[in-house]
């Protein structure tokens, strides 16, 4: 992948498009060519819309040639997790139940990407119904990790992780209910941003859990994530859960550095079960941030041990409520693990759900008063382990993968995963360059700008984001 257009960051590609050094048509042809080369091994796409993508690329090229440049997404090929509606293209959620589900309207995020001039390459694979952390269960077969195709990408935005890491597209959208953006980002060695709850509209997305679903970008660099978030963030009248909070210019302070930022390192829970390589890489990342001028101190996180229980008591009943009709009529059409999780939703009582929602209010107030009054950011790992072999990715792997990400969905705070290392080369299956590791930076509600700023400072001080899987 090195040396060709497909390995550029979105930001670099956009600069070349703006300067007319490369056309949207060339970029789109590059992505389609890359897809042709690697898709047989990755299985990242469920639906490829090559013909319409080329039309959109030509339209973008004409518009730019005519002097109407819309901004950094103009003419840039992107792809969407297959739960974002695109008019006229099936939204399957990786389930045959929805194989013939063809929406007539774009999701709001799709529409905003179109308005920004992006070229839509197609719909990406996922863990069925976005209900799983490995990406293993899909009626289109699982997406594979570009660093080692025998291993999981992480999920549920599995195709998004694989496609961005492998250069099939310059950015992708995913969703995150318990870690489904950050987990594939961590395991595929790219950037994944879960914005604040309500920052990005979910209108036109298939829900997993209305109270916990977040939409956001997966990209190769932090600045790329800022660009995509800029396009999709903000209040949307089609989604009553979307927030009227003002949207800042996410690139305006991206290069301001971390000097003086206060970063809390959890004194419990988050560092207890890490793979030694992950622990070492995250601690090294903290040293880098400290070296850049951040103030790193331990922090005690209130209610942290009980937060995952509250999340489960909300997520599982909400998911079952959405799927109840199909679960009654055609349960055999679900992947076994997805069906099991949905069945588990029935074991929670109404009182459990209400108590969890009350607990959520209490926990959010405590984090606001005790954590984010003193700290600008919290730093943890995004995942405890690296990508596991697809066949070995059972329920214990799932629990391990979601452990560090899902508390932040209950709290609704913004969180990003950035590449921070790779496991050393090992005999017997690991790729020669090792497997990616990602730390997680967590910010105050609505303060994605500081999260991006710190992640960018770290990224620019290291070279992890310049490494690409050799396929």
């Amino acid at each position: 992948m090195n040396g060709d257009l497909a390995c550029l960051s979105l930001t670099e590609a956009a600069e070349r498009v703006r300067a007319r050094g490369v056309s949207p048509v060339e970029l789109t042809e590059t992505c389609l060519s890359r897809i042709g080369e690697v898709e047989g091994r990755l299985n990242a796409f469920i639906t490829l819309t090559a013909e319409s993508a080329m039309k959109e690329a030509k339209a973008a090229a004409d518009e730019i040639a005519g002097g109407k440049y819309r901004g950094p997404l103009h003419g840039i090929p992107v792809a969407l997790k297959d739960i974002f509606d695109v008019a006229g293209v099936p939204t399957t959620a990786a389930s045959k139940i929805l194989a013939k589900n063809v929406p007539t309207e774009d999701s709001s995020a799709t529409r905003r990407l179109r308005e920004a001039g992006a070229v839509l390459l197609g719909k990406l694979n996922l863990h069925q119904f976005a209900f799983g952390a490995t990406g293993r269960s899909s009626d289109w077969e699982p997406a594979c990790n570009p660093w080692d195709v025998e291993r999981v990408t992480g999920g549920s935005s599995s195709g998004s992780g694989a496609a961005v890491a492998s250069g099939e597209c310059f950015a992708a959208l995913g969703t995150d209910t318990g870690g489904s953006i950050r987990i594939p980002a961590s395991l595929c060695g790219i950037v994944g941003l879960k914005p604040t709850f309500g920052r990005v509209s979910r209108a036109g997305l298939l829900p997993l859990s209305w109270s916990l679903d977040h939409a956001g970008p997966l990209t190769r660099t932090v600045e790329d994530a800022a660009i995509v978030l800029q396009a999709i963030a903000g209040r949307d009248d089609r989604d009553d859960w979307s927030s009227p909070e003002s949207v800042p210019d996410y690139r305006a302070h991206l290069r301001d550095g971390v000097k003086g930022l206060r970063i809390g390192v959890p004194d419990s829970f988050f560092f207890e079960q890490l793979l030694p390589e992950t622990d070492a890489a995250v601690k090294e990342a903290l040293r880098v941030l400290e070296g850049l001028g951040a103030e790193v101190e331990p922090v005690t996180l209130p209610f942290i041990a009980d937060i995952p229980n509250a999340l489960t008591a909300i997520m599982l009943p909400e998911a079952l409520a959405y799927h109840q009709k199909w679960m009654e009529e055609r349960p055999e059409d679900y992947a076994d693990d997805v069906r099991y999780r949905l069945e588990l939703g029935s074991t929670f009582l109404a009182v459990d759900y209400v108590q969890a929602q009350r607990f959520r209010e209490m926990a959010v107030r405590a984090w606001r008063d005790e954590v984010f009054s003193k700290f600008d950011l919290i730093a943890t790992a995004a995942t405890q382990t690296t990508a596991t072999p697809i066949e070995a990715s059972d329920l214990s792997v799932v629990f391990s993968l979601i452990r560090l990400t899902n508390p932040l969905n209950l709290l609704g705070v913004p969180a990003i995963s950035v590449p921070c290392g790779q496991t050393p080369a090992r005999p017997g299956g690991f790729s020669p360059d090792g497997l990616p590791i990602g730390p997680q930076l967590v910010g105050r509600w609505w303060d994605e700008a500081t999260v991006l700023r710190a992640a960018h400072a770290y990224e620019q001080a290291t070279d992890w984001h310049t490494r690409h899987p050799q396929m």
Binding site: G198, T312, P331, L344, R365
Partner: protein, 63 residues
């Protein structure tokens, strides 16, 4: 509806939730009840006082 005779707590709950669970899956689902029990125990520790559940979760405003 449950496929077959109602045998255990998980079966009753699944039935009330309106989903079909075949007999051979009930044992696994019964084991899965531990997650709900753990959540109940975990959240039951707290005096939630007058805190009301938000009908629609809204994060705290920016500073």
């Amino acid at each position: 509806m449950i496929d077959g005779e109602i045998q255990n707590e998980a079966a009753v709950l699944a039935s009330r939730a309106g989903i079909r669970v075949p007999k051979e899956r009930l044992a696994t689902l019964e084991a899965g009840l531990s997650a709900a029990r753990a959540a109940r125990t975990s959240l039951g520790k707290y005096d939630l006082g007058l805190i009301e559940p938000a009908s629609r979760f809204v994060p705290p405003p920016s500073r």
